[in-house]
C-alpha cells in the first residue's frame, strides 16, 4: 500500500508520520518516533509488552495499525509518569523492587495504570483480571500484585 501521512498526538505533542497505513502503532512509536520504551514481545497482542494508552484506553500497539488511530491522543511509558496515577505506580514499582529484566514492565505499568485509574482499591480478582493478559517471564507477578495495592493505598 502507498504510504500515507498521519497527524498523531503522542505524549501531548503533535507528531507527523508518513508510513504504510498497515504499520502497527508499535513500530511507528519505536522506529519513526524513536520512543523505544514500548516493547515488542510477541506481535499478536498475547503478552502486553506493547501496551500504550489511546484515547485513555489501554491499547496493544503491536496490532493496531496507525491508520486506525485517528485523532485519539496516545500516551506511552515515557510520559505516564506525568500522570499522578502513573507516577504512583512507577514509585511503587521502584520502592517494592518489582522489576527483574524489566522488558515487560512498560506494558505492565501501562496496564496497571489503566486499572488503578478506574479502581483505586482493586481486589486480588480485579488485579488478576486486568493484569491477566500481561506476560512476565521473570515471574514478577507476586510483586506486581503487591505494588499495585501499595500504589492504590498511596493514592487514597
Amino acid at each position: 500500500m502507498a504510504p500515507a501521512t498521519y497527524e498523531l498526538t503522542v505524549n501531548g505533542q503533535k507528531r507527523s508520520v508518513t508510513a504504510d497505513p498497515g504499520t502497527p502503532l508499535l513500530w511507528i512509536l519505536r522506529d519513526e518516533l524513536k520512543l523505544t520504551g514500548t516493547k515488542y514481545g510477541c506481535g499478536i497482542a498475547a503478552c502486553g509488552a506493547c501496551t500504550v494508552h489511546v484515547g485513555g484506553v489501554a491499547t496493544r500497539s503491536c496490532i493496531v495499525p496507525v491508520s486506525l488511530i485517528g485523532d485519539r491522543p496516545i500516551v506511552t511509558i515515557e510520559a505516564i509518569g506525568q500522570d499522578p496515577v502513573g507516577r504512583a505506580i512507577q514509585d511503587a514499582w521502584v520502592s517494592h523492587d518489582v522489576v527483574q529484566c524489566g522488558y515487560c514492565q512498560s506494558g505492565q505499568i501501562m496496564s496497571a495504570v489503566a486499572l488503578l485509574k478506574s479502581n483505586r482499591k482493586p481486589t486480588d480478582k480485579d488485579i488478576e483480571q486486568s493484569m491477566g493478559g500481561n506476560i512476565c517471564r521473570c515471574g514478577t507477578y507476586v510483586r506486581i500484585r503487591e505494588a499495585i495495592k501499595m500504589a492504590g493505598g498511596a493514592q487514597s
Partner: protein, 725 residues
C-alpha cells in the same frame, strides 16, 4: 543429524587462552568445588579495569557478566562498594564489554550461567573493592604524611587522624598511580554495610520509565534491520526462492541466502526498519527442500523414547548390591514412567544482535550470556581475530539459558549478513515466531524408574533410566561434561541424589533427533527433580508417613543444606499448613542444585480445572547471601518460571519435522492467574561460601504443586505438561 560443531575446540581454546594456559573448568561445579573458595583468587585483578571514580563522585563499576534480570548488576557492585566503603548512592553499574579481564574467575571465559555469578566473583569483587580502598587510603596518607592505618573510610571519604578528610573523587588520580597491593584485608561480616542487607536494584527506575535500552532498542546511524527466514525443518535448504515481491517493497535493501549452523541455508532480508523487513520476509516465496533432512516427529520420538527407557543405557552411577537391583523384577515395588516435552525459553525480549563489519574490524552489540564464545564465533565468520571484534554487552530482557549458546547461532547469522553489507550496522531481530520455532529447547525426556520398597517403607533399590538428548554433545563443552557416554546435565539431580538409597543404578540414553537443544533454567533438574520429588512423595504416602518426615528420614545425614532448608520450610509453613481450607491440599518438594538447597510448601486447590496456588513458602540455603531482597525476588520469579512446565499449552511439539506452535497463543507461559498469589521466602542464615539462586528454586515448584494435586484427586501425574488435572 546433530548440530554441526561450528567452532573447533582448538580454535576456541586459542581464543580463550589465558596467561596460565587457558584451562577451562567444567561449566558446572562439582560438589567439592562449591565448598572451596580460594583464600585469594590466583589472579590480582587491576582495579582500573573495573572501577572508575569520576570527578563528580560517581563510581562506575564494570559488571563482568550479563544482567538479564537476576540482579547481578546490583549484587556484584555491592561486594565491591562495601569493601571499598563507597557511597552507594553514587554507584553506577555498567555491563562490561567482552575482554579477557572480565572472564569468570573460575570458569575461565566471560559468561553467566549455572547460577554461579556470586559464587565465582564473590572473592574477586570484594578484593577489587578492598584494593581500591587501600590505594585511596595510601594516596590520602601520603598527602597527609600519616600512616595508612591511622585513616578511616566511609561513604567515599577518607578521614585522617587529625580531622583531615578527602573525597575519593579528589584522591582518584593520585590513587591510580599507586601500585596495586598484592595482598588485601577483607572486612569481617560484622563490618558489612551492604553485603547481607536488603538493597534495592540499581536499574529499577530506568526500567520503569522507558529510558533503559535493551539490545532490541539499539539505534545507530545508518543501521539496517535484518529478518531471517529460517528453514521450517532444522538444517533444510531452499529449493527455490522467489524474492521479486519482497524486493519490490520500498525500503528493502537486500535479500540473500546465508548458511545456518545446522548445516542448512536461510534467507535473509535486509531493510530500513522492522516492519519493512517483516513484510518483505512474509512476501518471500520459498520452496524448501525437506527431503535431505531428518524430520523429527514428537509422536514417533515418544515411541522410540519409551522403548529405550525400558532398556539399560550408559551407566551414570551404580552402587550397592546387584542382587537387590535384579530383585526389582518382583517384590513390593513401584514402576513409574515419566514424560517431559520440549520446552522453549521464550525470554520476553526476542533474540537480537547488531553487527557492523568494516575492513579489519567489527563492532557487536548483544545481550549475550557467552561473550567470549560469541566474540570468537563472530571473528571466525568475519575472518578476524577475536581482539579485532569490539563486543558490547547490552542489557537483556531475560535469558534463562537461551542466550548461552555454544554455537553462537544468532551471532553467526548476524555476522554472515554484516559480512555481505560491510560498513553498515545490521540489527538481526528474531520475531516471537522465530523464537518459538527456532529450536534450542529443553530436550524432551522419558524416565523409567523401578523402586523396590523395604518393609520400613523406604526405597531399598532404585533403577532409573533416563532418555533424552545430550545438550553438550558436539559442542566445546562435550569434553568436560560427557563421561562414559553420559551427559552430566541429563542425570544431575538423580545420579547425585542426596536420598540414601543403598542399591542404586542410573543409566541414560542420548538419542540424536534433528532438534537443537539447550539448557533451560536449572537444566537437568527441571525433569529429574520432578521425578524424584513426586516418587518420594508417593513412597511417603504408601508408607503413611508425613512427606516432610519421610524426606528427613531418607536424606543422607550429611545433606546439610537440604536438611536446613527442609527444617526452615517446615517451621515457616506450619501455621498455614495447620489450618488449610477445605478442598485445599499441601504439596511439598525439596531439591539441591548448583550448590543451593531449596524446600517448598504450596497450598493448592483446583479452580476451573486448573491448579490454583494460594501460597508458597520457600526456604533456601545458598550459603552467605549478598542481597536477601534479590534472593527473595529470584525465588518468587523462579517458582513462576518453573510453573511453565505445568501450563496446559506448555509443550513444544513437532509434526513431520515442523514445530507446531508459533507464538504465545499455542505455547503459553504462566500469566498472573497461573502464579502463586503469595510467596514468602526464608533464607537459612549462613556464613558458608555463597552459592547460587537463579536456578535452584525452579525445580521444586512443579513437583510440589503436583504432589498437592495428587492428594486432592488421588491421581499421579507423570506426563507433563499438565493438560488436565
Amino acid at each position: 543429524m546433530k548440530p554441526a560443531q561450528q567452532i573447533s575446540r582448538r580454535a576456541f581454546l586459542a581464543a580463550s587462552g589465558t596467561a596460565a594456559g587457558g584451562l577451562l573448568v567444567s561449566l558446572y561445579f562439582d560438589r567439592p568445588l562449591h565448598a572451596q573458595q580460594p583464600a585469594q583468587n590466583p589472579r590480582i585483578y587491576p582495579p582500573d579495569a573495573f572501577i572508575e571514580i569520576k570527578s563528580d563522585g560517581k563510581i562506575v563499576i564494570q559488571v563482568n557478566r550479563l544482567e538479564f534480570g537476576q540482579g547481578v548488576q546490583t549484587a556484584l557492585p555491592m561486594l565491591l562498594a562495601d569493601e571499598m566503603d563507597a557511597d552507594w548512592s553514587q554507584v553506577v553499574p555498567e555491563l562490561a564489554p567482552a575482554a579477557d579481564i572480565y572472564r569468570d574467575p573460575m570458569r575461565g571465559f566471560q559468561m553467566v550461567g549455572g547460577s554461579g555469578s556470586i559464587a565465582t566473583s564473590f572473592q574477586q569483587y570484594r578484593e577489587l573493592g578492598a584494593r581500591t580502598r587501600a590505594m585511596l587510603v595510601a594516596a590520602a596518607a601520603a598527602r597527609w604524611t600519616v600512616a595508612p592505618e591511622q585513616c578511616r573510610t566511609e561513604a567515599s571519604v577518607v578521614r585522617g587522624p587529625a580531622g583531615q578528610s578527602a573525597k575519593y573523587a579528589e584522591l582518584a588520580t593520585d590513587a591510580a598511580r599507586i601500585s596495586v597491593p598484592a595482598t588485601v584485608q577483607l572486612k569481617k561480616p560484622a563490618d558489612f554495610r551492604l553485603i547481607g542487607k536488603q538493597v534495592r536494584r540499581l536499574d529499577s527506575r530506568a526500567k520503569c520509565d522507558g529510558s533503559l535500552k535493551f539490545g532490541l532498542d539499539l539505534d545507530l546511524p545508518g543501521m539496517k534491520v535484518a529478518l531471517v527466514a529460517h528453514p521450517p525443518v532444522f538444517g533444510a535448504r531452499p529449493k527455490s526462492v522467489d524474492d521479486t515481491a519482497a524486493r519490490s517493497i520500498t525500503g528493502v535493501a537486500n535479500v540473500f541466502q546465508i548458511p545456518t549452523v545446522s548445516g542448512g541455508t536461510a534467507v535473509a532480508v535486509v531493510a530500513d526498519k522492522f516492519w519493512t523487513a517483516k513484510q518483505a520476509r512474509d512476501a518471500l516465496k520459498v520452496e524448501w527442500d525437506l527431503t535431505a533432512v531428518e524430520r523429527p516427529d514428537s509422536a514417533a520420538l515418544w515411541a522410540t523414547y519409551r522403548q529405550l527407557a525400558g532398556t539399560p543405557g550408559n551407566v551414570a552411577v551404580t552402587r550397592g548390591d546387584r542382587a537387590a537391583l535384579d530383585a526389582l523384577a518382583s517384590g513390593d515395588r513401584i514402576v513409574a514412567e515419566y514424560e517431559f516435552p520440549f520446552l522453549a525459553h521464550s525470554p520476553m525480549e526476542p533474540l537480537n544482535t547488531t553487527v557492523r563489519f568494516d575492513e579489519g574490524r567489527a563492532e557487536v552489540w548483544a545481550g549475550s550470556q557467552f561473550q567470549t564464545v560469541d566474540q570468537a564465533a563472530i571473528a571466525e565468520v568475519l575472518g578476524l581475530k577475536p581482539e579485532q571484534v569490539t563486543f558490547h554487552t547490552e542489557m537483556a530482557g531475560g535469558g534463562f539459558g537461551r542466550r548461552a549458546t555454544a554455537d553462537s547461532h544468532v551471532q553467526r547469522e548476524a555476522a554472515e549478513i554484516a559480512k555481505r553489507v560491510p560498513g553498515t550496522p545490521i540489527k538481526v531481530i528474531w520475531t516471537r515466531e522465530d523464537d518459538v520455532q527456532g529450536g534450542y529447547y529443553r530436550p524432551m525426556h522419558a524416565h523409567r524408574v523401578e523402586v523396590g520398597v523395604g518393609r520400613d517403607g523406604l526405597p531399598v533399590a532404585w533403577r532409573h533410566v533416563v532418555v533424552g538428548q545430550s545438550i553438550v554433545a558436539g559442542t566445546i563443552f562435550a569434553g568436560f561434561m560427557i563421561r562414559n557416554g553420559v551427559d552430566a546435565t541429563a542425570v544431575e539431580g538423580v545420579a547425585d541424589t542426596d536420598y540414601a538409597i543403598p542399591n542404586f543404578h542410573v543409566s541414560v540414553h542420548h538419542p540424536t533427533p534433528n532438534v537443537p537443544v539447550l539448557w533451560w533454567r536449572s537444566v537437568g533438574h527441571t525433569h529429574t527433580a520432578f521425578v524424584m520429588e513426586t516418587l518420594i512423595d508417593e513412597l511417603a504416602a504408601r508408607a503413611k508417613m508425613d512427606p516432610i518426615a519421610y524426606r528427613r528420614r531418607l536424606l543422607n545425614p550429611d545433606a546439610k543444606k537440604l536438611r536446613a532448608a527442609l527444617d526452615l520450610m517446615e517451621e515457616k509453613s506450619a501455621p498455614w499448613r495447620a489450618k488449610l481450607a477445605r478442598n485445599h491440599a499441601t504439596g511439598i518438594a525439596c531439591h539441591e542444585c548448583f550448590g543451593t538447597a531449596v524446600a517448598c510448601a504450596v497450598d493448592v486447590s483446583i479452580e476451573n480445572k486448573r491448579p490454583r496456588i494460594h501460597r508458597a513458602t520457600v526456604a533456601i540455603d545458598a550459603g552467605l547471601v549478598v542481597n536477601p531482597l534479590s534472593v527473595e525476588a529470584q525465588c518468587q520469579g523462579a517458582l513462576v518460571f518453573g510453573l511453565s512446565q505445568l501450563m496446559a499449552n506448555g509443550a513444544i511439539t513437532l509434526k513431520d519435522g515442523r514445530v507446531e506452535q508459533s507464538n504465545f497463543d499455542r505455547y503459553t507461559p504462566p500469566y498472573i492467574v497461573d502464579a502463586p498469589v503469595a510467596v514468602d521466602v526464608h533464607i537459612v542464615p549462613s556464613t558458608e561460601n555463597p552459592t547460587g539462586c537463579g536456578e535452584p528454586p525452579v525445580p521444586v515448584i512443579s513437583p510440589a504443586v503436583v504432589n498437592a494435586l495428587s492428594k486432592l484427586t488421588g491421581k499421579r501425574y507423570r506426563t507433563l505438561p499438565l493438560v488436565t488435572v
